[in-house]
């Protein structure tokens, strides 16, 4: 009798948790966050990195962006449309400019999800060392536009939000 009572209470708790997860957790927003965090994890390189790792990372970055992606980051003097096929070229150019590079997305917030589109904003903390050995760390606010294609989120635009207007 007592066991049945505990079982019933356990089932009710599980049902409440499941209902909470189903109704109150925005799974699409979580997927968008995960997608952008994984992009940040791939935008990393250092001098000792193997060729295979580098190629894998480039491929992974390519998979995360749409066929055409509008990039507008004045902080790095970038304002252009980037096609998926051009990603390796641009990353190679960046590697020729910075010997080590990493980016971390802090305060990542999904501002809106209206399927198949989503918008997110984050503070990108870039740590980089130039080929000449000079540290060039930057902190930028970046707004991403994403689109869901074939059940996968892809970045269609990345735009720097101006915090201080000169």
């Amino acid at each position: 009798m007592v066991t049945k009572k505990y079982l019933a209470v356990g089932l009710i708790i599980v049902a409440v948790v499941a209902a909470f997860l189903f109704f109150f957790v925005d799974w699409e927003a979580r997927a968008v966050k995960k997608h952008l965090q994984s992009l940040a994890k791939e935008m990393v390189w250092s001098p000792g990195e193997s060729q295979i790792t580098a190629v894998t990372r480039v491929k992974s970055v390519q998979d995360k962006i749409a066929e055409i992606c509008q990039v507008n980051i004045p902080g790095y003097k970038i304002s252009q449309t980037v096609s998926k096929n051009d990603v390796p070229t641009y990353l190679t150019m960046a590697k020729n400019y910075y010997k080590d590079f990493s980016v971390k997305f802090e305060d990542l917030k999904v501002e809106s999800v209206q399927l198949p589109q989503a918008q997110a904003v984050t503070t990108a903390h870039v740590k980089a060392t130039g080929i000449d050995g000079v540290r060039n760390d930057e902190v930028l606010v970046i707004e991403f536009n994403l689109q869901k294609v074939d059940q996968k989120w892809q970045i269609t635009a990345a735009r720097e939000v101006e915090v201080l207007e000169k």
């Binding site: 802090e106 305060d107 984050t122 915090v163 201080l164 207007e165």
Partner: protein, 165 residues
């Protein structure tokens, strides 16, 4: 007797009242240090020598609850959130004109005395009028070229608070 007191202090009896007290203290600490006094560590030299890299401070978020920021307040500026913020000094408010001539700051055409700025800078920048609802902020360390220094006007709503000291 005193041994007993010490023992009681470090190893108290876990009662409902004790747990409630711990929960209340933890909740108060969470609210205070997440929303009122946000701890932060300074990284970068843009506010040197007033604030140097590696030093620790708190962002007091209620500082501008009743008044707006005004020169020469030091403020923290929110980026996408509050994990990373900029620390800058307000030099002008809305409607004022800001100009740099050979390192000297001019607001509305009048030279501003800035004892907090150390070292001579060579910044020369054309006059800019601060937009409504904005303030003009700049770091104290102007020994770096203007192109490499983050400064300019920012909306007042981006100001999260002010450093506690």
């Amino acid at each position: 007797m005193s041994d007993n007191l010490i023992k009681k202090f470090f190893f108290p009896e876990i009662t409902g009242r004790y747990v409630l007290r711990v929960v209340c203290v933890a909740a108060a600490a969470l609210i205070i240090f997440k929303y009122v006094f946000i701890p932060f560590r300074i990284q970068g030299e843009s506010m040197a020598p007033t604030y140097v890299t590696g030093s620790f401070n708190f962002c007091f978020t209620l500082r501008y609850l009743f008044t707006g920021p005004k020169p020469p307040d030091v403020v923290t500026i929110r980026m996408a959130g509050q994990k990373i913020m900029l620390l800058k000094r307000v030099v002008a408010t809305e409607g004022q004109t800001v100009e740099f001539r050979e390192g000297d700051l001019f607001v509305n055409g009048n030279k501003v005395f800035e004892p907090y700025v150390s070292g001579k800078s060579d910044w020369t920048l054309p006059p800019v009028t601060v937009k409504p609802g904005h303030v003009y902020v700049v770091g104290d360390n102007r020994s770096v070229p203007a192109e490499r220094h983050a400064f300019g006007q920012t909306p007042v709503h981006r100001i999260a608070g002010a450093p506690l000291w």
